[in-house]
């Protein structure tokens, strides 16, 4: 019985009501994000030690110093190693699993739930469990290798070996990261209209062709989202390193998040730690923009907007 389209209710007396809704969260943001972001920049210009009364202004000296600091570069390199290996592998695994549990089969919901369990478990507890699994000689992996007859491999101390510690941490991250990535891919898959596949099948497309020319391109926004968020969090990984290797052996797993933690909370070089955190932030920003550039170019090719 509408006579005319609903008129946008008259301009309301106050357009400020909305601000009152935002205010509490904005105050929270200001105190715990905006102010800290600015203050960290200020800190990075000082030689700032909480325990010392004297906090001299040093300008860009912290930045100049970190650029020449081999341990900083070592930490960045380790983070790059961790991110570049664990993110693509984790995403490929998650996409495969998502395709598997996207099928209309009885009981798949149960499997989806199971695969998500590590993501909601205490990361400290999981680090303890995985340390136990990796134990040389006695751990589950050692037992498996023994059973396969690889006796010398069973004695490898995975987390204490310079060459194996990082792969061991990455392998664990595939396990913990599977669930959330899988669910995101599932959300993306659910958004692809079924008719496209029906049309392709009618045109005689093979399964591989529908995957290659329908699924993959249409999953691009999802893939991009997962790539960005996974890379950001991989660059900041902390708890497994803290619990399992403490950055060792001899700094082979000292990633940037752990390195900054040590600077700030073990050595109390908070100015230096802030400078390093800012460099990390700029790097993450650069990587994200780069990923965005690459992906938006691909999206244009597929003429997705």
């Amino acid at each position: 019985m509408t006579i005319s389209p609903p008129v946008r209710t008259k301009r309301r007396p106050s357009e400020m009501t909305g601000l009152w809704f935002i205010l509490p969260s904005f105050l929270h943001l200001a105190v715990f994000s905006l102010f800290p972001i600015g203050f960290a920049l200020v800190l990075s210009l000082y030689r700032w030690d909480v325990l010392k009364p004297d906090k001299p202004f040093v300008g860009l000296a912290n930045y100049a110093h970190l650029l020449r600091d081999p341990f900083f570069w070592n930490a960045l390199g380790n983070s790059a190693y961790y991110t570049v290996v664990s993110v693509p592998m984790g995403m490929a695994l998650a996409l495969g699993v998502a395709l598997l549990v996207h099928q209309k089969l009885p009981g798949v919901a149960l499997f989806r739930t199971l695969y998500y369990l590590p993501a909601v478990s205490s990361s400290v507890a999981l680090a303890m469990v995985w340390t136990f699994l990796y134990l040389p000689g006695q751990g589950l992996f050692a037992w498996m290798l023994n059973t396969l007859g690889l006796r010398s491999w069973a004695q490898v101390d995975w987390l204490q070996s310079p060459s194996w510690a990082m792969p061991a941490l990455i392998f664990m991250s595939l396990w913990t990261g599977l669930g959330p990535r899988m669910v995101l891919f599932l959300a993306g898959l659910a958004g692809i209209p079924e008719q496209l596949y029906e049309a392709a099948a009618m045109d005689g497309a093979s399964r591989w062709e529908s995957f290659r020319y329908i699924t993959l391109p249409l999953l691009l926004p999802t893939t991009f989202f997962i790539l960005v968020t996974s890379s950001i969090s991989a660059f900041q990984v902390f708890t497994p390193i803290y619990m399992m290797t403490r950055g060792g052996p001899v700094r082979h797993t000292e990633v940037i998040g752990y390195h900054i933690y040590n600077q700030a909370w073990r050595q109390f070089h908070m100015g230096m730690a802030s400078a390093q955190a800012y460099v990390l932030f700029l790097l993450i920003l650069a990587v994200t923009i780069l990923q965005f550039k690459i992906v938006s170019k691909r999206m244009e090719e597929y003429s997705l907007q």
Binding site: P6, T9, E15, T17, G18, F21, I22, P24, S25, F26, H28, V31, F32, L34, F35, P36, I37, F39, A40, L100, L105, F111, T113, L114, Y115, Y116, L117, P118, V120, S122, S123, V124, L126, M128, V129, T131, F132, L133, Q138, L140, T147, L178, P180, L184, P221, I232, F235, T239, M243, G257, I260, Y261, A264, W265, A273, S274, A277, L280, F281, I284
Partner: protein, 273 residues
């Protein structure tokens, strides 16, 4: 037929891959604390040893019941705070117009990209200058609102039909009354999603509680567990695994009860931006 069987085979293998560490944790925790560790060949001990759990709970240096109490208090307050603050802001961004709205919203989203390492030190100094170190305030207040929660609820409020709002407004309801009496009740599923996410995130948070607490009685479960591990070296695996089981279980339980909200939440924020 073959395809389906193959799929099930793969899914079972993956389930094994996912569950094995959990199973190993539980089985180990039931072994005698000084004795042979489990191997798949001798998976089960001759006798189940529940005493590891009792020992963990009776440890005076790491009072797990106290940690549990702290974690529950903190998680409950954070969940309540996020439900209120994020729903207010999410509603404001989705349903109200005001100057600078889009810019403000962008500001909230942009902060999600800032690595925690940048804000951690100043946030610590803020909490310290407020005199909140080693108190519940330090554990709770920084978690009371989140850009993620605001984004999640905004996406949901955007989907509510405008007619309801218009009708209420014609009846003379204020914006706040509309939010409270119409917006909130209709968004129960989205609120449940946020509650589930906030609970798990708080329960499993490690870094921040590690920084702002310093005495045993203020520790949360995650930090307490890491202290427990440190004080028992790497020798007593059954005891360690029992402690791990105790910390993992409550969060798993909450997840299993609320898991449908997780999937919905991710579908909501994931890509419909």
């Amino acid at each position: 037929m073959i395809r389906a069987s193959l799929s099930y085979l793969l899914m079972l293998l993956l389930a094994l891959f996912t569950l094995l560490p959990f199973a190993w944790m539980v089985v180990t925790s039931l072994h005698p604390s000084h004795g042979a560790l489990p191997t798949p060949a001798h998976l089960f001990p001759k006798q189940w040893h529940g005493e590891n759990y009792r020992a963990v709970l009776n440890m005076t240096a790491t009072p797990f019941l106290r940690f549990l109490f702290n974690t529950v208090v903190v998680a409950a307050c954070v969940v309540a705070g996020q439900l209120l603050l994020c729903s207010l802001a999410g509603y404001g961004f989705a349903r109200l117009r005001f100057p600078g709205r889009d810019l403000l919203f962008f500001l909230f989203l942009a902060t999600m990209m800032i690595p925690g390492q940048v804000t951690m030190i100043p946030a610590f100094l803020v909490v310290r200058s407020l005199g909140w170190l080693n108190t519940y305030w330090a554990l709770i207040v920084p978690g009371l609102s989140s850009a993620f929660g605001i984004f999640l609820l905004r996406q949901f409020f955007l989907t509510l039909p405008k007619e309801l709002e218009d009708a209420a407004r014609l009846d003379g309801c204020s914006d706040f009354a509309i939010y409270w009496r119409i917006g909130l009740p209709l968004s129960a599923p989205a609120l449940a999603t946020l509650a589930a996410f906030a609970f798990i995130a708080t329960w499993t948070d490690f870094f921040w509680p590690l920084l702002v607490t310093s005495t045993t009685e203020m520790r949360t479960l995650e930090v307490g567990l890491s202290l427990f591990k440190d004080s028992f070296g790497t020798t007593n695996w059954p005891l360690q695994m029992a402690a791990a089981v105790l910390v993992v279980c409550p969060a798993l339980l909450v997840f299993l009860l609320t898991q449908r909200f997780f999937v919905r939440g991710i579908a909501l924020t994931g890509l419909k931006g």
